[in-house]
Amino acid sequence: MATADTQTRRYQEPGAPGNAAVVNPDPRTVTGPAGGTGQGDVQTVDGQLRILTEELKLANADLRSEDRGNFCDHPPEVIKPFRAFWENFLNWARSESLWILGFGTGCGAIELRPLMTSRFDMYQYGIQGRPTPRQSSVFVIGGYASVKTMKRIVRSYEQMQGPKFVLGLGSCTINGGMYWDSYNTVNRLDHYIPVDVYIAGCMPRPEALLAGFVKLKEMIKRGECEGANRYAENFEWYKANQKRIIKNWDMPDYNW
């Protein structure tokens, strides 16, 4: 079995968003170096990007006014883990019951399928597919993310319930891979959603994917996969990055 070249991102204390390019001191105004395509400016209202209102509700400023009432306007929150033994037990359960969101975001989705077969038999690792983000805990980004799929990725990610884990599959998720200079490809996934495990390769074989899952399980057991909390913590930064590349933003600021 070939060994996968995996690159992990470790959980860091809240407030320090990994190796992200920018730490933004004022959540209301987001400026900073462009990731991804780097085209265009951040959409702003009154010259400023407004994610949260004075009452700390989601502004949902990009929605049409008649749609606003249809969506929840509560922003995501950081939820502290339990302590020690209990959290370890829960983490064990989480790692042994990984439910994948069955959403083929890129060409790598084809590599997911073999895991179901008798040859790879992901079930024996407690992994199984799930048709709805609500019930899934692992989001496998199957390859490059374009502007179009990014919107869906963000939406689906936000609709998963925490703790939730993201597996970036293939080189494209890391740096754009062979599409690195495409006008339409997102080069670096973790500027937009927190990624727990990257699996390098173009494309990585199912074995590599399995190896990535094993790695993810280890990390979960170690309590290192707190992507959901990281996302909540740096919500405005992520949102600003997302909005920079998604021009026709017709969804609420957080898709519950």
Partner: protein, 1089 residues
């Protein structure tokens, strides 16, 4: 007393002198004419008062010689009464004719009017055969002269035909008279009657009499030789139409009355001959009238039919309660009832200038927004149809009883069938006139906009129907003459009704119904607002209900009183939510409830029937109030009255077989009959009212298209009347019918199939009210099934289901009323997500549907448990399985109901919807509390029901604490409740303990294949919810029954068209028909010679 001859001299003298009187001025002359008529009325009324009950007759010989030598006039009490009514109607007619907008009568017209009146007096009073002929001609010629008043140029053609026909009739009459004189040697009717058995019994005498009677019959315009008369009615001035049918026809009938003893004495062939003639004259025009487009023509058909009925009544001795023993009372009452009612209708046609009947052509809603005229028209139509409390009802009852007692089953069928046809066309006319202007009278099923658009206009519900009432037809002013004459006629009818009612011997409960309606009608006249009326009604009914049942032992009757009055009182609270006035609403509701109560208190078949009819009527007028209820109410009226007629037939057959029928006074089985056919008819009648499969097509649309509060009352309270009747007739259904199969077994199958079919149809409705209506049908099917078991448990079940259905269907319908009120639509897929806006309504619907579907722990399960236990106990296994299956179906449509309205996506334009008004919620929660209570403690309900049933069957279940134990199984509602609370609370607490942070999100925050749903409207799955079920069943779900009844309707239409075509409009054809009629009478007589 004034001599009869003076009346004739006075009218003739006045006619002669009228040109002189007119020199005083036209107005003054007509006033004087009215005064003269009033004096006539006073005279005749004086005769009536002094003659009635005295048994003597007022006699006047002319020329100073006694009877055989000279012509004798005679007035009996019956004659005097008829003359009084005729004079009053003539008075009203003259007011109408001289005080109308156009074509006011004056000069020669008034003269001829008096001549016509004189002719009628003469016909009634004379006792000389040839003199009859003279007066016949006087009447006829004055009518011909008056015909020219009409603005319709076709009247001359009609008049010509009339003259040809009437000429032939005169010839026949003269030939007959000649032969009679030749044989008897006298023209005095008394002499001829005395001599008839000897002198006229020979073939020659009989043949002469044949001419005589044919002449008289032709003058009575009998079908099928009456096209000329119909043409005349159509083309003539409606005022003449009124005179023809009210004055002229009434007088003509008396000729037959005079001659009948001669005929009967001479030969036995004449009674059947006249019966056949009467039957034909009654039935054929009713069928011909079905599709008439001209109202006047329709009234013409109706008039000749009514006279046919009178002819029947003359020959058939009266039986039954109201007029037993009073000679000629039945035909007289029928005749006068018809005269007043028909004159009223003609005058209305004249006043509104509206000659459309409601079939084809334009359909003006000419009575909408004219309440007074509407009331008058309704009274006239109902009186014509022979419905209580109008005098015609009692006569019809006696007539039918007489027919059955005489063994004239064929005639019975003819009378009932003809009456039904009359209901269809007259009822339809009335409905068309009072319907809402928006209503194109085609709505008998749910209406779904073709493009699924949120079309607000289409979806406007009954809720708004009251608002635009006044904007109905442009109400033109009614001429003063019409007002007076209609008022006079209505007073006359009212007076006669009161007199007949008091004389009929029906008990207090029936009277209370009418008093109640009248009292609230007075409130309407005083313009008391709806809310106040509702409060008065609630207070009054509560007081009445309490006083009716307090202290009384719990019996079937008192139980049903509680059910009816209690259920209605609670639901009346909902009316408090409606501001403003709703003329008639409370009055009719009170009437309906009281008539239901009267049904429980009825002690004789007559009272049962009266109460039943009153209930039908009040509920019909409630249904017809709906905004799009015209077509539905046509069905409702037709089927309800068909049901009533079947019941009448059943009662008459039963009474004929056993005069003591229905006087048993037992608690259950008051109406038990041992005649199988009567039992079948009774069952059919009840099944129609219960909307049993095949007979149900009226039910959904009527319940659904009525106003929302009315729907709830009808479905929850009114529908139980049929159940009560089942119990009253219980004993009839158990006897073996054929091949050892008893009626109750058939009933059982009908019940269970109804339950299943109703559920199935409810499944595919998009309109919430139709869903509930079909659900009612299904539930009633269960009750029939349970009743049909004829066992202790079965009956307890039937009653349990009845109570339960009242509670939850009241809740559901009222909740729906609130929702419809707030959202302005009845289509479920246009609702959705209302739970957050209308939480209380949701709770009520939730409890309601749990109670319907029988899910433990609520009371519905008790009903199901009892039902299946009872069914299996009796060995009705297949029925039990089917019932269970349909209960599953019920679960489906109920879920659809609650889902489509309250769950799923809320439409954006419903964001501001508020909770239903408190007044609508209060009754729901009253019912809810009751449901919870009887769920916790089922013995609270079941034990009293056992008490009710015990007189009929010994108990077959026993109680251990809260556990009810049957031979098959057991059920402890109390324990179930606790267990359910336990198993519900435990997971709930667990969930609250382990759940993480829960965010309350909106309905639109859903996963949608990584997309965003477009709008709530496009995201709510509610339309065609059970499409797959429909697909699975395929053609089984075709509307067979609807198709069948459409076929029946089309066939009736074809028959009507065919029969209509008989009246070709050609005078020679009419003459031919008259000759043919003569030939037919000859053949009939020959057959009997």
């Amino acid at each position: 007393m004034v001599s009869p001859v003076v009346l004739i001299a006075a009218s003739l003298g006045f006619a002669f002198l009228y040109p002189l009187v007119e020199r005083l001025g036209e107005r003054a002359a007509t006033r004087i004419a009215l005064l003269v008529l009033a004096a006539f009325a006073g005279t005749t009324a004086g005769w009536t008062v002094s003659l009635i009950g005295s048994g003597v007759a007022l006699t006047a010989d002319t020329a100073g010689f006694v009877a055989p030598l000279s012509i004798q006039l005679q007035v009996t009490a019956v004659d005097a009464l008829a003359m009084t009514v005729v004079t009053l109607l003539a008075l009203a007619a003259l007011v109408q004719l001289t005080e109308r907008a156009t074509d006011r009568w004056h000069g020669k017209q008034v003269v001829l009017f008096f001549v016509l009146l004189l002719g009628s007096y003469g016909l009634i009073m004379t006792r000389d055969l040839f003199n009859v002929f003279v007066f016949m001609e006087i009447s006829g010629i004055s009518v011909f002269g008056l015909l020219s008043t009409s603005r319709d140029g076709r009247v001359f053609e009609a008049g010509f035909k009339y003259m040809v026909a009437s000429g032939l009739a005169s010839v026949f009459f003269l030939i007959g008279t000649a032969f009679v004189y030749r044989s008897v040697g006298s023209l005095s009717i008394a002499d001829i009657t005395a001599a008839a058995p000897v002198a006229l019994a020979s073939p020659v005498g009989v043949m002469g009499l044949l001419f005589l009677v044919t002449g008289i019959l032709i003058e009575l315009k009998p079908a099928p030789a009456n096209g000329w008369a119909i043409d005349t009615y159509q083309a003539a001035d409606p005022g003449i139409g009124a005179l023809l049918s009210a004055v002229n026809a009434t007088a003509m009938v008396f000729v037959l009355v005079r001659v009948m003893p001669i005929l009967a004495g001479a030969s036995p062939v004449f009674v059947p001959l006249v019966l056949i003639a009467g039957a034909g004259a009654f039935l054929i025009p009713q069928a011909q009238a079905l599709l008439q487009e001209s109202f006047k023509r329709m009234l013409g058909y109706s008039s000749v039919a009514q006279i046919g009925l009178v002819v029947l009544a003359i020959v058939i001795p009266a039986a039954g309660v109201p007029f037993a023993g009073v000679a000629l009372a039945v035909p007289l009452v029928l005749l006068l009832n018809h005269a007043v009612a028909k004159a009223t209708l003609f005058w209305i046609a004249d006043a509104t200038g509206d000659d459309a009947s409601g079939f084809g052509g334009s359909l003006p809603a000419s009575l909408r927004g004219r309440p007074a005229l509407l009331v008058v028209a309704a009274i006239a139509v109902l009186a014509l149809l022979g419905l209580p409390p109008f005098p015609g009802f009692w006569a019809k009852w006696s007539l039918v009883m007489g027919l059955a007692a005489g063994g004239h089953i064929g005639l019975l069928v003819v009378v009932l069938l003809g009456s039904l046809l009359e209901v269809v066309y007259l009822g339809r006319w009335l409905i068309m006139r009072m319907r809402h202007v928006d209503d194109d009278a085609t709505v008998v099923s749910q209406r779904i906009p073709a493009d699924f658009a949120e079309s607000r206009a289409d979806a406007v519900s009954g809720a708004a129907s009251g608002a635009s009432d006044a904007s109905g037809a442009a109400a033109g002013a009614i001429p003063v003459g019409a007002t007076v004459s209609l008022g006079l006629a209505t007073l006359l009818m009212a007076g006669a009704s009161v007199a007949a009612l008091l004389g009929s011997g029906v008990g207090m409960p029936v009277l209370i119904v009418l008093i109640g309606v009248a009292a609230f009608a007075v409130l309407d006249v005083l313009r008391i607002p709806l809310r106040l009326q509702a409060i008065v009604a609630i207070a009054g009914l509560s007081w009445w209900g309490v006083s009716a049942v307090s202290g009384a032992a719990l019996t079937l009757q008192s139980g049903f009183v509680l059910l009816f009055v209690g259920g209605a009182v609670v639901q009346l609270v909902a009316l408090l939510a409606r501001p403003g006035r709703r003329a008639g609403l409370v009055a009719l509701i009170v009437g309906m409830v009281l008539s239901l109560a009267a049904l429980t208190a009825a002690t004789s078949p007559l009272e049962v029937f009266v109460a039943w009819e009153l209930m039908t009527l009040t509920s019909f007028f409630l249904v017809v109030r709906g905004r799009f209820a015209a077509a539905a109410s046509v069905r409702y009226l037709t089927f309800s009255l068909a049901s009533a007629l079947l019941m009448l037939a059943a009662f008459s057959l039963a009474t004929a077989a056993n005069p003591a029928f229905g006087t048993g006074g037992g608690v259950i089985g008051t109406l038990t009959t041992s005649v199988p056919w009567a039992a079948v008819l009774l069952a059919l009648s009840v099944l129609i009212k219960l909307g049993a499969i095949g007979l149900h097509i009226w039910l959904p649309s009527s319940y659904a298209e009525a106003e929302d509060e009315v729907s709830s009352l009808a479905s929850s309270v009114l529908s139980k009347a049929g159940i009560l009747l089942l119990f009253l007739g219980a004993g009839s259904f158990a006897a073996p019918l054929f091949a050892g199969v008893a009626l109750n077994q058939v009933l059982g199958w009908i019940g269970v199939i109804t339950a299943l079919a109703g559920g199935m149809m409810a499944l595919f409705q998009e309109d919430i009210k139709y869903t509930l209506a079909y659900s009612s049908m299904s539930q009633l099917g269960y009750m029939v099934l349970a009743f049909a078991l004829m066992s202790h448990l079965g009956w307890v079940t039937a009653l349990y289901l009845a109570v339960n259905h009242l509670l939850f269907k009241g809740m559901l319908f009222l909740a729906v009323a609130g929702i419809v009120m707030r959202t302005g639509t009845r289509l479920m897929y246009q609702m959705g997500g209302l739970i957050k806006r209308m939480p209380f309504s949701f709770v009520s619907v939730l409890v309601g549907i749990i109670a319907v579907s029988g899910v433990p722990p609520l009371a519905g399960f008790g009903g199901k448990w009892l039902l299946y236990t009872a069914l299996i106990e009796q060995g009705w296994y297949l029925q039990a399985a089917l019932a269970l299956f349909s209960s599953g179906i019920a679960f489906l449509y109920l879920f659809r109901l609650i889902h489509s309205m309250f769950l799923g996506q809320r439409k954006t334009h419903h964001d501001t919807v508020t909770e239903a008004p408190a007044a609508v919620l209060i009754p729901q929660f009253v019912f809810l509390v009751i449901i919870i209570a009887i769920s916790m403690f089922p013995n609270l309900l079941i034990k009293p029901l056992q008490t009710i049933v015990e007189p009929a069957f010994a108990s077959s279940v026993r109680w251990e604490g809260y556990t009810v134990i049957s031979s098959l199984g057991y059920w402890n509602g109390n324990a179930v409740m606790y267990v359910v609370i336990g198993v519900f609370l435990a997971p709930l607490l667990w969930l609250l303990a382990v759940k993480g942070r829960t965010y309350r999100v909106e309905q639109f925050n859903i996963v949608f294949a990584a997309e965003r749903p477009h709008t709530p409207q496009s995201t709510h799955y509610a339309y065609n919810f059970y499409g797959h079920y429909q697909k699975a069943f395929g053609r089984l779900l075709d509307p067979w029954v609807e198709r069948f009844w459409s076929g029946v309707s089309a066939t009736a239409g074809t028959v009507s068209q065919t029969l209509r075509a008989w009246n070709t409009g050609n005078p020679q054809t009419y003459a031919l028909q008259i000759l043919l009629y003569l030939f037919l009478t000859y053949l009939v007589a020959r057959g009997g010679l």
